[in-house]
Structure formats: C-alpha cells, structure tokens
C-alpha cells in the first residue's frame, strides 16, 4: 500500500505539507471508524486506504466492524433501497431484526474513540452508547428522496450525533445537527487506479476473452438494480445498430448485498445470445478492474440512484470519456459536455455513446478535462484533508477557526 510521500509526485509537496499541519492539531485524539463490512463496496474500499494514511500522518485512526447475520443484512439492504427512494416492504418484524442485532453490537463493540465515526445506517444505533465523546454519522447514500418511514426511524438516531456528513448537497435533510458536505475520493496509487503497462491490460482482455477488434463500452459496478445493468444493455443495443461495439459488464457482489445474485441472473438472461456482451464477475480484483477500464473506449455509469459513483472518478482519472446518469454525486464529477456526458434516459445514454464513438477527438478532450477535475477535487489527499478538518470542527463552532 502506498505511503503518504508517494503522493507528492501527483499532488505536489505543498498539499502534503498542509496535511501534516492539520494532523498535528489532532494529536492525542483517537478516531474510531465503524461500518458493517471489511470488504466489498465503496465504504470498505475507502477505509482500507484512509485509515493507514491517517495513521502515517500521525492521527490515531482505527477501524471496527459490527456483526450481523443474513437477516440483518437483508433488512439493511431494504433500508438502503428505501433511502434511495425505491419501494420496499418493510414491516415491524424487519425493524425488530434490525434493533436486535443493533443491541448485540451495542453489548459487544467497545466505542472507545474520542471521535466515533459511524458509516451508513447499519451501525447507526450505536449512538445509544454515546458518553462525553464526539460522534459523527457519515451517510454514503443518496437520500435526496428517501422513503419517509425509514428516514424518520433513522433520523431519531441521527439527531443525537454531534454532526452528520453527506456526499452531495442535494442529499442533505432538515436536521438539528450540523451537516457537512464531503465528497468521497479515489486513490490514484491503488491497484485500481495506478498506471498499468499495456501488457497487463492486454493480458486481462485475453483472460476474459474480450477481443480488441471493436470499441469497448464498459460499466463496472456491483450487480445491483440501482446500477441499472439492464438499461446499459438496452443503450448498447441502440447504439450498436449504428456503430459496431462490444459491451463489458463487470463487477462483484458485497457481503452485505444479498440481492446481487438475483440481478446477475436477470442480466445474464437478457444478454444471452449476444457474443459481444461480456459479463464478468471480478471479486475484489482491482488490477483487473483497472485494466478493463484502461482497455475501454467509453466507460458508463448508468445508475438510477448513486451515493457518489466512484467508478466515474476512476474512469476520468484514466482520461476515459464517460457517459453517466445525472444522479447523486455524478454531476459533481462531470460537467456536461466539458468533462463527460450526463444522461437522463436510455435514449440519451445511447445518443451520448454514439456521439463519443463517432468523434474520438471530442471523446479524448472530455477525458483530459475530466482527469484535471478529478485531480483537483476528488483524490484521496483532498478527502484526508476534509476528514481531518471535520474532526477539528467538532471542537469549534465558529465559521473562521484560527489554529
């Protein structure tokens, strides 16, 4: 894993100097991150990188994971979907399962941090253990149009935290606690984003039987209905009538995502008979994800709802032209027709794909602009800075803080 000094070549020494300045102000504070899974999904991915880097900067950051059985994660998946605005049948029994597991975690998990940093709804009830330490609830989900019943249930816990954090301004809610906006980030030195040789890229294509004979359109995402893989296939079929191309749908499933297998089966069924559609299961193989993105002509992220859409930042960092839905945190990463193309339907996605396939120079320009935007605003060094400022903000109420 990369050391903090290795980022100098990418962001410059002054940025690292700033990080060290801030970290000194957190000396003596223990920051305890808590989430629901150590592998799979964006939260675990970010914490895997952030915690060691914070430690290297001198911040005592730690990471604990709650426990939960299959039933608990089925309920939290329903919560997740409902917060995204999807219709879900959630009954009294579901809430009981959620509370029962939460009570077990309250009994078993030591919340020792000076700052307890709780990620997403699964561990939210731990706030019942709050003493004189500081607590932050970090919401990684797009809750701009939540199911009100689920949100009301969770809100009763959220308002007892010292602060909350959302990935986009449109996700904020009317709350009595402070709300901060912090976008997630990508790590340019991780296996998923570092430079790769052409040999490695080619070998991954060979491994998965994806020929380089025509343009490759790729969506890399968990097999999840909210990522709309079916919509991706439909858009691909529309554009394929005019420009011959291949489609790669690649992703894995996370431990806390029991719906994944069902969506995958539907996708396979719809793609059957088309040898230019490649459905690849890549459980936690970041180099292969990286290689597939680099091998692609266009990257898609046609999500119906999106917490942030880290795959967009990953693709832009590799200077790839991106077609993505105008949802969640995606418009923060893409300025339409400047650093990518935003779409609102299958038709507009197909139109955007056609535009990029027919005009490679335009596609290249969008990719280059996108990389610059990601460099300035969505790399892990900016994320480290924001988190450390967030921790400091818990001890200061004013708008101008002199340190």
């Amino acid at each position: 894993m990369a050391k903090i000094d290795e980022y100098t070549g990418i962001v410059g020494q002054p940025v690292l100097d700033d990080l060290r300045l801030i970290s000194q102000k957190l000396h003596g504070k223990v920051i305890q991150n808590i989430n629901s899974t150590s592998v799979g999904g964006g939260v675990a991915e970010i914490l895997t990188r952030m915690v060691p880097l914070l430690k290297e900067l001198g911040v005592d950051a730690r990471w604990d994971v709650i426990k939960g059985g299959k039933q608990f994660f089925e309920v939290t998946k329903k919560f997740h979907n409902a917060l995204h605005g999807k219709r879900e049948d959630i009954d009294k029994h579901d809430y009981e399962i959620f509370m029962e597991t939460s009570r077990s975690n309250i009994d078993e998990l030591d919340t020792y941090g000076d700052i307890v940093f709780v990620h997403d709804p699964q561990p939210i009830v731990l706030i019942n253990k709050k003493r004189d330490n500081k607590w932050i609830w970090r919401c990684h989900i797009d809750i701009s149009t939540p199911n009100q019943k689920v949100w009301k249930f969770l809100k009763d816990f959220v308002v007892r935290y010292d602060a909350s954090v959302f990935s986009a301004p449109s996700f904020s809610q009317k709350l009595s606690v402070r709300q901060f906006h912090i976008s997630p980030s990508i790590d340019p030195l991780s296996d998923k984003n570092k430079e790769l040789s052409q040999n490695i890229v080619d070998s991954v294509l060979v491994k998965y039987g994806v020929p380089k004979d025509k343009p490759i359109i790729t969506q890399i995402s968990r097999f999840d209905a909210l990522k709309d893989p079916i919509g991706v296939i439909r858009a691909y079929r529309k554009v394929k009538k005019d420009v011959d191309c291949r489609l790669v749908l690649a992703g894995g499933t996370a431990e806390d995502d029991p719906e994944g297998a069902e969506v995958l089966a539907r996708v396979r069924d719809m793609a059957s008979g088309d040898k230019d559609i490649h459905i690849l299961l890549l459980p936690q193989n970041d180099i292969e994800v990286n290689a597939l993105q680099r091998a692609s002509t266009i990257i898609m992220q046609k999500s119906i709802k999106e917490g942030f859409g880290l795959t967009v930042a990953e693709a832009l960092w590799k200077s790839k032209p991106v077609v993505a839905s105008n949802v969640g945190g995606i418009p923060l990463q893409i300025k339409h027709e400047y650093s990518g193309l935003l779409c609102n339907s299958i038709d507009s996605a197909a139109f955007a794909l056609g535009k990029l396939l027919n005009d490679p120079q335009y596609a290249r320009r969008l990719g280059e602009n996108g990389k610059e935007h990601i460099k300035n605003n969505f790399l892990i060094t900016r994320h480290l800075r924001d988190y450390m400022l967030l921790f400091l903000s818990l001890y200061h109420k004013e708008d101008m803080v002199y340190l």
């Binding site: 410059g12 301004p169 809610q173 009317k174 906006h181 300035n376 400022l389 708008d399 340190l403």
Partner: protein
C-alpha cells in the same frame, strides 16, 4: 491569532483550508434565492462567490459565482446570470455589501421582468446554500526579504495564495491583500505593492495569479 503580517517583520505565510457545511436550505425560484440570500451568514455568501476559484485552479473561471451559474444555466435566465456575473467583487469592501448588491440585482430584475418569477428548478437542481468553514494555519514558510518571499511563493500551497489575497481583503477587512501590505511596510517598495494591489484577482486562476505576482516581484529584483 497573531497578525499574518507585522510592520518591519518577516512575512509568515498562512494557509486557509475550508470545509463545506450544509445549511439544509435550498432555493428553487428567484424569489426564494433573494429571500434566503438576504439572511445567510457571510460565510455562505463568501462560499458561493469564491468557491469556483478553488475548484478550478487551472481553468479560466467562466462563471464567477454560483449565483450567476445557477440563475443563467439552471433557471435559464441568461440576462440575470450575466448581470450577476458582472458584479465586480473587487469593488466591494465587505461580504455584507456584496450580499446586498446580489439581492438588489435579483430584486430589480424581478421587478423589471415579472415573468421570471415563474422560473422553477427541479429539486435535484435546486440552489443549495452552503457555508464555508475556514481553518487558518501558519505554515513553515517565512520570508525575510523580497528574494525569500519569491522563493516561498513558488513553494506554498495554492490555498496560501488564496488566503493572503482573497480572505485578507474581503473577509478579514484588511482593505488590501497581505502581500501588498507587507511589501509596502517591510520591503518599502511602494511601486511593487501598488502593482500587486492593482491586479484584479477575480480575472485569473489561482495559479495564474501566483505566476503574475512572482513575475512582478522578480522584475523588481532585477531592476
């Protein structure tokens, strides 16, 4: 906090890092925009008129404020967007006077073009009011003379340039930027101080601004 610059003293570079705090308030119409803007704290107005500078460090700023971008591009009121974009922030001595100008510009337009009241953005494209919480740190860069000043200016983070130029003048009520103040008082170079003061920082990107100041100072060193 000690003063960032003291007469006859070395120049200590400070840096300013910011965190976005959501207010939970949003506007979907021009009337709402004017009404809420009137009551927002300075840190919110400052954020929406300066955010683009930090986000696009190497791109020429085309939409100098979130107000003009939202009105012109989201609501489609191009003329008002242009009027808001034409407000010269350099001419205002405080955030509050800038706020009053923005509100007056919107209100005047609503009177002139009553149909603009019907413009409405969807929730996903509403104007979200966000405060900028500033954290100000002393850096390790200190200059005892103009030569050291130039060397330090080449090395400091762009946030430091931002703090000494923008925050010092408008948010901390120091009237001029910190660089000009120090050069005038400690280096005793009135001309260079004036040349830097005359730059309109809102017409450059931060990196362009840094390069301009370095160029001006290096020219003086060679004379």
């Amino acid at each position: 906090m000690e003063k960032a610059t003291n007469d006859k003293e070395p120049f200590r570079f400070y840096t300013r890092l910011s965190l976005s705090e959501l207010t939970g308030l949003q506007a979907s119409t021009l009337q709402q925009l004017a009404k809420i803007t009137k009551d927002m704290p300075d840190s919110c107005i400052y954020n929406h008129t300066h955010r683009f500078l930090k986000q696009h460090q190497r791109l020429s700023p085309k939409s100098p404020s979130d107000f003009s971008y939202w009105v012109g591009s989201i609501l489609g009121e191009k003329e008002l967007g242009d009027r808001l974009a034409s407000i010269k922030i350099m001419e205002f001595g405080s955030v509050d006077s800038l706020r009053r100008k923005i509100v007056a510009t919107i209100s005047q337009y609503l009177r002139e073009k009553p149909l603009s009241r019907l413009r409405y953005s969807g929730d996903s494209e509403a104007f979200y009011f966000i405060k900028s919480i500033s954290f100000i740190f002393p850096t390790n860069y200190i200059a005892h003379d103009l030569k050291e000043f130039v060397e330090a200016l080449k090395s400091v983070a762009v946030d430091s340039v931002y703090f000494h130029i923008f925050d010092a003048r408008l948010r901390l009520d120091r009237n001029a930027n910190d660089f000009s103040n120090w050069i005038r008082n400690s280096v005793a170079d009135e001309k260079l101080a004036d040349d830097i003061s005359k730059l309109d920082p809102y017409t450059y990107t931060l990196e362009e601004l840094r390069a301009m100041i370095i160029q001006l100072a290096e020219t003086r060193l060679k004379e």
